[in-house]
Symmetry: C2
Subunit: 524 residues, 2 copies
């Protein structure tokens, strides 16, 4: 015989859904699933020392009937001796304001409400009553919509309450201080019929007329129409779909890790006022298997457009093949006003129609220190480095004209943009620890007695002249060679080497990206 | 306007389906797909210098009508000036003999025939006419059957003609000497309606009554009944399904690589007369994500039962959770007479009910050389190493009693079992290059003038006594410490270090696994 309580207890343990002694908000609509869930968790609460808190949201859509649901849930919670919160949302108004379907507005309002209750009672876990039939319907819905692996894995036993569930304004009005709670679904492997049996056996009398707010019209069609048809093709279709979801969730995790790994190696986010751009190392991207190439482009879209839920398959596919086969300068539309463009050494994902915010050197090629001297150094870009006659205080951050067609650009960047130990591919660019070098930066030629501690040489201090000789800087250039000087002395012998004390480390919090650029009419 | 020829040419290029100048067997039933394919490839043959060969199999199921099909194909090939082979199979008899459905027998006969033709004309590529609607049906079929990622990716643009397609007797009667040809599907992204249009535009007059032999009853139900129903839920369902297949094929590749990678690290195949056993490093397996744990168990089943096509989901799932949560000695049924058993340090997948063929130490733990001296060395297992009074010739392979409760065991192992540079986790076990050490092995105490060349010390030769001092072997034990001596001298200072000349390398072909074991009643 199927023992629902044992099955749920095992599922909770296996997927690590509840922690001993924790506070748990239980979302209860009053329907059979959530009532069964509450009854089960109440039975478990003793042995796991759970502190349960019942939460019910009145969606304000069904008048007196909804009020009766709320009363029923409050009464049942009170009968179990549990604290409860009854909330109320004006879902119709939210839907109109946000141009959402009623169902979507209700869903967002519900999750926001649950997150608020969790915050107010100090809970990190919210339990909801989705069952195996809901899961089968979800998988089927995603199958019909073509949402790929992440959709076909259905709902997860345990998942952080993502921001997309809270709607687009969630970022503006965060529901919780530090982090969002987890949603857990202890009944996700339990078929609806077993839940009905459980309710009957335990004398639970759920309220039933909740389908209008809890499920969409499309989902109802799948439940009542399509699934019975599919059962004619495979009578076990519901079990098949829940199993498929469980297996694909594992596969998705593998794919997701592989994409994250490739991202950390080959992608850099360049911060801009418009929300940033993503750069991929082009040769590295091209050497990846097709699935990772697709995954990285989609990850870039997600990174830059966090609220975008549906990405057009055709666009991504066309973009992937363009990036595989195309040549420098070619572009393809991606999604939500984003495009991908093939650069010399990088693929750039950014706002459509705008020029790259970061120069092509932005994709760093992690390499051993010290890097070899660039072949064209001393000649700069187009002949001759930015030689100096005297000191030039720099605008930090900002642009400073250096004369002779050169300018210095200093950009503030987030720690996450530049991994520790990295040097830019372009010799005229440096990544510096902003706190170490401070905000008063000057470019100046050398002074008598200058000393330098090159990065990557195990802390060795040396006379600046010695360093210049070591790197074979021609004598004629040494007197006027640009040095970036900050709080701790020489931070960068431009074009040649960053100082150890100024370099980005694992402890760096903020970064200055310093560039010496030859004008070439970019400011036209 | 959709230009089918351009689309197919692009698809061939993108998925690298055809090589310039190669011979290609084209499977032609006479239906619209294969006729369109032949017409297209014939048009491409000039620019790609393809040498086409038409192949048609008469399944012997439909009498005069089938003969007319064969004649039609032969006539069309001749009209194009192409060589052709018409084959005939007694599919009904094959089905009865192999206890297969007619459809399955026809499929196997067809692929065997195509492989034979490919071999006889020296082709490595076989082109077949599956189209995007076939692909959508395949994905749907696998979705309804719950066949996971590998099924949901549908048919592949290019795939090696796997043995399972040729039936279980393929191994006994291989169709090709060295390797099997590729199946390529140039029309896999082309909808059926476009193919019909193409045929009409080019005056091709395909034969149509082929459905009974080319598609199964189930597939026909999907095509004519279920897909039209699904179009009421999503009118674009056919495109959705082909796109899903393409995306999931990429994801599958990522998952497959991850499983292969984990396999190469944590799995070893131990050869037995019954077809082998697979051992996984238990702590390493347990540290993997759920998806890889599942994937490795399934891979073990595939490795040991290559012809098994359907693996019971429940069995694998129960086994995975047992291996995650269970204790030493627990077992679970897997599939096809296989079980998985939890050992002390390994998971063993092998024949149900039989004891492990390999000892528990079989899973090697790759570690840096030289390994630290085991803490309990010099005390052996249960006090005192297997000290020797004089030389003991060993049975190779075999067991030799050493007295004092110890015995030596020597097992012959396949090269693939032990990667180069590996040492066993158990200090009393060594992997030796069988050719280097030879088959005359002796255990003896040390002799004056003994020298030793420890593995992992860059070829350094030293006096044996010096080595014994280095590893802090107490003086009292040195005189009677067991040394394994083979063709090149001291091959193993037992419990301590293998000699460089005797170690397993990338060039090793056969291995002796040498173990010193304390009896402990194992032979009762």
């Amino acid at each position: 015989m199927f023992d629902l309580r044992t099955a749920v207890r095992q599922y909770i343990r296996r997927y690590d859904l509840l922690q001993r002694g924790e506070a748990v908000v239980v979302g209860v609509s009053g329907g059979p699933d959530s009532l069964c869930l509450l009854h089960l968790l109440h039975a478990l609460a003793g042995e796991m020392a759970l502190r349960l808190h019942v939460a019910h949201l009145n969606h304000g859509l069904r008048g007196a009937e909804a009020d009766a649901d709320a009363e029923f849930v409050a009464g049942y919670a009170a009968a179990l001796g549990l604290p409860y919160t009854i909330g109320r949302a004006a879902v119709a108004a939210l839907a109109e304001a946000g141009r959402l379907s009623l169902e979507e507005a209700a869903r967002q309002a519900r999750y926001r409400f649950l997150a608020e209750v969790a915050r107010s009672v100090g809970a990190e876990t919210i339990a909801v009553g989705h069952n195996a039939d809901d899961q089968a319907e979800t998988v089927l819905m995603h199958f019909l919509r073509g949402s790929g692996l992440s959709g076909l894995r259905g709902m997860l036993p345990k998942t952080p309450l993502g921001e997309y569930r809270l709607g687009e304004d969630a970022a503006a009005a965060p529901v919780s201080g530090s982090h969002l709670p987890y949603i857990v679904r202890p009944l996700l492997a339990i078929p609806r019929r077993e839940i009905a049996l459980y309710c009957a056996e335990h004398g639970l009398q759920p309220r039933f007329d909740l389908s209008n707010e809890d499920t969409t019209f499309f989902r109802n069609r799948l439940r009542h129409e399509l699934l019975p048809i599919l059962e004619r093709y495979n009578p076990a279709i519901r079990e098949i779909l829940t199993h498929t979801a469980a297996v694909l969730a594992g596969d998705h995790q593998i794919v997701h890790s592989a994409i994250e790994d490739a991202w950390s190696r080959y992608a850099r986010v360049y911060p801009t006022p418009e929300g940033g751009e993503v750069y991929f190392d082009l040769p590295a991207w091209r050497a990846l298997p097709l699935g990772l190439q697709r995954g990285l482009l989609r990850a870039a879209i997600h990174r830059l457009r966090a609220n975008l839920r549906n990405i057009n398959w055709e666009h991504v596919e066309r973009a992937v093949w363009l990036c595989r086969e195309g040549t420098t300068g070619q572009k393809a539309t991606l999604a939500a006003g984003l495009e991908v463009e093939i650069g010399y050494r990088a693929l750039r994902v950014g706002p459509e129609g705008s020029p790259p915010a970061a120069p092509d050197w932005f994709i760093p090629h992690p390499g051993p220190h010290p890097r070899p001297l660039p072949q064209n150094w001393g000649r700069g870009r187009g002949g001759g480095g930015p030689l100096l006659a005297g000191p030039r205080p720099l605008l930090v951050p900002g642009r400073t004209d250096l004369g002779e067609g050169w300018r210095a650009e200093i950009i503030a960047a987030d720690r996450r943009v530049v991994p520790a130990g990295l040097t830019a591919a372009d010799p005229w660019t440096a990544f510096l620890d902003a706190r170490a070098v401070g905000a008063e930066l000057t470019l100046r030629p050398r002074l008598p007695g200058d000393r330098f501690q090159p990065q990557g040489m195990a802390g060795h201090h040396m006379k600046l002249n010695e360093f210049m000789i070591n790197v074979k800087l021609p004598k004629a250039l040494r007197e006027r060679w640009p040095l970036l000087v900050g709080a701790g002395g020489i931070a960068w012998v431009c074009g040649l080497r960053v100082a150890a004390w100024a370099a980005v480390t694992a402890h760096t919090e903020a970064i200055w990206i310093v560039k010496l650029v030859r004008g070439e009419g970019e400011e036209a």
